[in-house]
Amino acid sequence: MTQATLEISRISGHPGPVPGAGVKREEQVCKLIDTTTCIGCKACEVACLEWNGYTFNETVFNNSYQTMPETAWNYWNLIKFNEHEREDGSLMLLMRKDQCMHCADPGCLAACPADGAIVQYANGIVDFQQDRCIGCGYCMTGCPFNIPKFNPSNRKVFKCTLCSDRVSEGLEPACIKACPTGCLHFGTKDDMKELAETRAKQLRDNYGFENAGVYDPPGVGGTGVVYVLHDVTNPEAYGGLPRDPHIPWVVRLWKGPAKWIGNLAMLFGVVGVTLHYLRYGPKQVEGRKQGREGEP
């Protein structure tokens, strides 16, 4: 913002457009995940743990590559594997890197009651401030992607930060840096959308994936993480990616109309009893017979 004094938005007595106006690049950052070139190596998971200072959790074995069922408070980045049988009977091993989607309209932030515990930076990153977190878990109810996870030992909620600490230093997120196939990209939202659409078109035109497309769900205002999917009509096949994610309507109602109706009702209650007292006063027992002589 301090550099904004170097940008001119209007000039007096100047013919034509303002020089340099409108050339600034969009500041929204975005991660592009091309599921069609992911090989499931989990290098992104390791890089995430290393950068954020966590160690491996205990793994489970259930006859698949899925050695952990879902992300955890200390495991923010997890590839979801799905052995998907297509209509023609052929098998596809779908792999999707699951992490916070950094929604433009974040359900966690809408649901959070603690002042400043969840912030959305101007570049679109949604970040938790654990020192402000009160541990209520409302963010877990507000999120349509099942991302915020509760740490019972310090009663705070954690999730992927999109490496806001790296990004603010001009670095790409750790997962992007570790990816060996180049299925992960990082840049501005416009650039990533363009790249994603190019890749989806390639998949449609050259590889026979007629339904290939880009997952950038409008229900949450678009996301800071976009996927290229072989079949964008069936996102659920990719480890339960929701088809039309949106902030739960109960959360919307609770944080919207219910708040105002409730507040007004409480206010009317307090005002109402006050007015009753001013109009009718207290019910006196003693004054009725003895105290007020001369009255009927």
Binding site: A114, G137, R155, K259, G262, V273, H276, V285, K289
Partner: protein, 227 residues
């Protein structure tokens, strides 16, 4: 059967008349204040979680994380206390024919025209409504509160339970707050003598005669028979 009784003359100091009537036993009073104080703690912290404009209330009672930790525990205390009230007052709280007659002319009560009201028992219809509101409110609050207490243990597939719990908790809380505002107003400002009765347990005979004539007749008759 009412647990109230008239304090016998021998329990009282010399010179005092039999004019005072025991309305709430010590156990009832203690329990009422356990319920009242635990409810107020939940109210203060709950309002803090409800609106950012009231989040400062959480600071008053030790900060957000502390409020979040204690709110459910005080909720359990409140629920236990209300269930105990249910155990001892259930019989007193059923709507009677006297209540139905009283209810029809309730505007007189609101306008303090008490002489126009039919006689009623130990509790009036409004008190009974408040009792049932708080009882059902507490049950709904504690059931939905258990889900909100441990949202991380509700599986993702059952997340509708979280949404349902949220809706129920908010609705039940607002309903009890409405009752609470009226209850506190009537108990402290409007019905004089009511507040001291829940502190010290006693009311004057005139108070009992005016507000709860049937109950008054019942306890004074009992006293007469005992003599």
């Amino acid at each position: 059967m009412s647990v109230s009784q008239v304090i016998s003359s021998s329990e009282r100091g010399a010179g005092e008349s039999d004019d005072r009537i025991l309305r709430y036993t010590l156990a009832e009073r203690v329990n009422h204040w356990i319920a009242g104080l635990s409810y107020m703690y939940c109210l203060i912290t709950g309002l803090a979680f409800w609106s950012p404009y009231m989040f400062w209330l959480a600071i008053l009672v030790g900060g957000g994380p502390t409020a979040r930790s204690w709110h459910p525990w005080f909720g359990l205390v409140f629920t236990a206390s209300v269930l105990w009230m249910f155990k001892i007052w259930r019989g007193d709280m059923l709507t009677t024919d006297a209540d139905r007659a009283w209810r029809k002319v309730m505007p007189h009560y609101i306008r303090n025209e008490d002489e126009n009201l039919p006689p009623i028992g130990r509790f009036n219809y409004g008190q009974k409504l408040f009792f049932w509101l708080m009882l059902y409110g507490a049950v709904l609050l504690v059931l939905s509160g258990l889900v909100l207490w441990f949202p991380e243990s509700i599986p993702w597939k059952l997340r509708w339970l979280r949404y349902l719990a949220l809706a129920i908790h908010v609705t039940a809380a607002l309903a009890t707050i409405g009752g609470f505002i009226i209850h506190v107003y009537m108990g402290t400002a409007m019905v004089r003598g009511g507040f001291t009765s829940i502190i010290r347990g006693e009311v004057s005979a005139a108070w009992a005669r005016l507000h709860h004539r049937l109950w008054y007749e019942q306890v004074t008759k009992k006293r007469f028979e005992e003599k």
